[in-house]
Each structure stands twice: as structure tokens, then as C-alpha cells.
Symmetry: C2
Subunit: 144 residues, 2 copies
DNA sequence: AAATCTATGTATAAGGT
DNA sequence: TACCTTATACATAGATT
């Protein structure tokens, strides 16, 4: 592209790497959007820069919903292939991965439900249990 | 691209849409890979076709790890912005999303731990509790 | 670091096999 | 259906500001 071929290997010059990242990231996000619109595809794209900054794109549905769909699909796929009971080692690896992810989510929950819940007024707690009309609508907007 | 401009709207012709999807998907996956290598970025890409078929790309680290990182980042970001205690409605929306995702993961866990655990031999159960050396190494290969 | 400018390399829309 | 071909649109490396 541009004035010269590109070797598919890490760009060592820090400046060039950053510039190229910025250019290509926008190109990638654009293409992700295009395929989602043109082809009616559900797309989720997550990009962490070297420095750890997050960029993301999610079609129509939110990233949250796409990741849920991904989880469900991955699970269904596993069922299809019939869990490999012959190799409990690799099986327990899958389990460990799931568990690790669970723990992250649980930690989040705990913070929300525990620590921060203490700061909420009684009224706010009631809203948690019985959310005002409309506040959850988005969550159900599109079944997959 | 190609022999004519492209309107950014859903391709109505089913055949063309499928063909374009196939071409663009491979282009998108390629670009995702390129930016990850050239710019040392951590990339996760999830694409569901109209028919619901999944395609995915994940750099070095596995998709599982990228999604964990995404969860952690999202959570940290939320903390930075300081939970908006003034609007419990939107707050409970976030909570509902998290909870929904938890439930998917919990369902997966349950299937693994419940139904299918019954089919494992005693030896295999022991491996679950005390996995053989090396079986979990991959999970810790790269801290973020 | 972001914005603009171009020469050049790529992706891909149509069409063909 | 999937793989070629080719004309054209697009993306982008490198340079400049």
C-alpha cells in the first residue's frame, strides 16, 4: 500500500507504528461497519493498541449482545462436537477458561452489588429491584 | 471497489450479498491480522453472517483472553467515569447487561459441571480438581 | 500527534469459466 | 457453488506541513 510493499512483521519504528496503527484502525473499523451494513452481518471488533487503549465497533446490536451471542454459539458448537470425554485435560482447560471469565464478571457484580450498593439511597435500591419502565428495553430489543 | 461504486446499504440481491460477504469477510480477517502483527495490537473480531454462521479472528492471545481483557477494561472505564449514582435507571441497565451475560456463562458452567460431569470417571473428576501438569499453562501464558 | 498530499499497492464488483 | 479475471475504487506508506 502506498509507496512500497509492506512486510508482515512488527513495525519497529515506534512513530511509524503508531501512525500506521491509527490509519489502519480507522480503515478496519470502516470495513467492519461496511460489511455489517452491506451484508447484514452482526459484527463485533475489539482492538487494543500497544499502549492498551481500546477501540471497538459493534453493529446494530451492542457489543454486550454480540458477546452473549458468541458465548452461546461457542457453547452450542462445543455440544455439537460432543465434549471430548477422552481427554479430560483439554476439557478442564476449557472449564478453566470459562471459570476465569466468570470470575471477572463476578468481581464486577460484587463491586456493583456490594461496595457501591451501600452508597445508594433506599429509593435507588428499589429502582434496582424494580427498574423504571423503559430502562431495560434496550436489553431485549433484538433476539438472536 | 471493483466495477462500480458501492452504496452503503444492505445488498438486496441474496446471491450478491452472500458473495460480497464471503469476499469482504476474508478481507476483514486479513486486515485484522495485519494490524495485529504490524502494530502489535491485540485484536478480536467476531462476525456472524446473516445465516448465523460464525467467523472469528483473535491475535496471539485467544478470543477468550481478549474478551476477559475487554470486560476488565470496560469495568475499569466505568470506575474512572465514577458510577453515575445520580441516574439509577441507566445504572441498573448496566447491571442487567452484566447479569444477562453472567447467566449465559453460568448456564454453560452448569452443563459442564452438572450433566456432563456425571459421565466422567472418578479419575477424570480428580483431574478436574487437580489438573495434570501443563494443562493450564496456556491460560497464564500472557498477562495483560 | 493530527491533517493533507500522492504514488502505489490492494481489495473487490462484475463477469466469466 | 466455488474459483478465475480484470477494470476500478479504495486504502495507505511515506513525505510534507
Amino acid at each position: 500500500m502506498g509507496r512500497g510493499r509492506v512486510q508482515l512483521k512488527r513495525i519497529e519504528n515506534k512513530i511509524n507504528r503508531q501512525v500506521t496503527f491509527s490509519k489502519r484502525r480507522s480503515g478496519l473499523l470502516k470495513k467492519a461497519h461496511e460489511i455489517s451494513v452491506l451484508c447484514d452481518a452482526d459484527v463485533g471488533l475489539i482492538v487494543f493498541s500497544t499502549k492498551g487503549k481500546l477501540s471497538e465497533y459493534a453493529s446494530d446490536s451492542s457489543m454486550e449482545r454480540i458477546l452473549e451471542r458468541y458465548d452461546r454459539y461457542s457453547y452450542a458448537e462445543k455440544k455439537m462436537k460432543e465434549p471430548d470425554l477422552e481427554s479430560p485435560a483439554s476439557w478442564s482447560l476449557e472449564h478453566a477458561k470459562l471459570k476465569a471469565r466468570m470470575e471477572v464478571l463476578q468481581r464486577n457484580q460484587k463491586h456493583y452489588m456490594g461496595d457501591e450498593l451501600d452508597n445508594l439511597s433506599t429509593r435507588e435500591r428499589q429502582n434496582l429491584e424494580h427498574p423504571p419502565e423503559g430502562s431495560l428495553k434496550h436489553t431485549r430489543a433484538r433476539e438472536i
